[in-house]
Symmetry: C2
Subunit: 196 residues, 2 copies
């Protein structure tokens, strides 16, 4: 019992070490040795826990999706109106503090790594489709009288906008401060007629 719990706990710790290296040193320095050092162990443990480097990265990518999904669902459940839920969910996807900024860097790192990794690109597509459907559902709930076409177009505009600004802010936080990002989000929601 505790064996399997320890194993998965170690796998999670190693995946978080992957995030740490990816955020701090970039994809080019994301080596098994660097991950082991960040996790405070040796390469032996890493290679006993995962068959190879690719599996380690894939697990880290899946865990990232799992964690952000849990956070988004909590925000959605805690919102008092559909429009508040939509805003809260989009809000957490921007790079507003060091935590979310690093998440954006990690997300971009995995995206860049997916170019040469079929497992990562498949995971990326799966997660993006789930994310897109979620925002489409929230948009439809926030504007019940819209056509499906308008819901889809506006939802795509919203997820693209937040993802894009997260990328900009990840690389240049000073030029894209939180206030700019929030004003952008509220301006967009108002323009689409989705303001609270």
């Amino acid at each position: 019992m505790s064996r399997t719990a320890d194993r998965s706990a170690q796998a999670e710790a190693l995946s978080r070490a992957v995030w740490s290296v990816l955020a701090g040193q970039g994809l080019e320095r994301l080596t098994v040795r660097a991950v082991a050092a960040a996790a405070g162990c040796t390469t032996g443990l890493v290679m006993h826990r995962f068959p190879n480097r690719q599996a380690l990265l894939l697990h880290a990518r899946q865990l990232l999706h799992q964690v952000t999904r849990a956070r988004v669902e909590a925000l959605e459940a805690g919102a008092v109106t559909p429009r508040a839920a939509l805003r809260a969910v989009l809000h957490q996807g921007m790079a507003l503090d060091e935590q979310t900024r690093q998440e954006a860097v990690v997300w971009l790192g995995f995206l860049a790594a997916a170019v040469a990794d079929d497992g990562l690109v498949a995971e990326h597509r799966r997660n993006n489709r789930v994310w897109r459907e979620r925002v489409e559902r929230l948009t439809a709930a926030a504007a019940p009288d819209w056509t499906a076409g308008r819901v889809a177009a506006v939802a795509l505009a919203l997820i693209s906008m937040t993802e894009g600004v997260a990328a900009y802010a990840a690389a240049d936080p000073a030029a894209f401060p939180p206030a700019d990002q929030e004003r952008m989000l509220d301006t967009a929601l108002a323009a689409y007629g989705l303001a609270e």
Copy 2:
């Protein structure tokens, strides 16, 4: 005379080889040998043209900015109205065909590489500020009666949206077809009151 011309022509060919490898094989396989093979030469030429790998990548990044800027300026000069210019400039920033899709992949690759490269991150920030100012200027021309605050917020929304959808479409072209991207752009421009 022809010496320096040859040198810069070779530097450009090598930079285009960098784009090719970055788009086709990803950042992890972006080695000096891979670039030389894509350019049809040996590592000797590469290392005689650039002092080291970092300088090669920086030149390729600068050339990418130069090329896209020329294209954007041509579009802007050829537009009949300010709103047409704004739409055309934003339109070319999305991933609508194989050419622009690869550009988006390359852009993301350089962004991921910039995490561990001070020269690349500085270049990235400089280019993004130029790009943002351009779209702010075009937005102000398209909506002359807006406040500076609204211009800035809407311009940020527009560049973030197009950059974000380019990233999504770069990794999953089938899920984000050109029609979806264009409908998203026109829906957004109409919502902000910038439709032609």
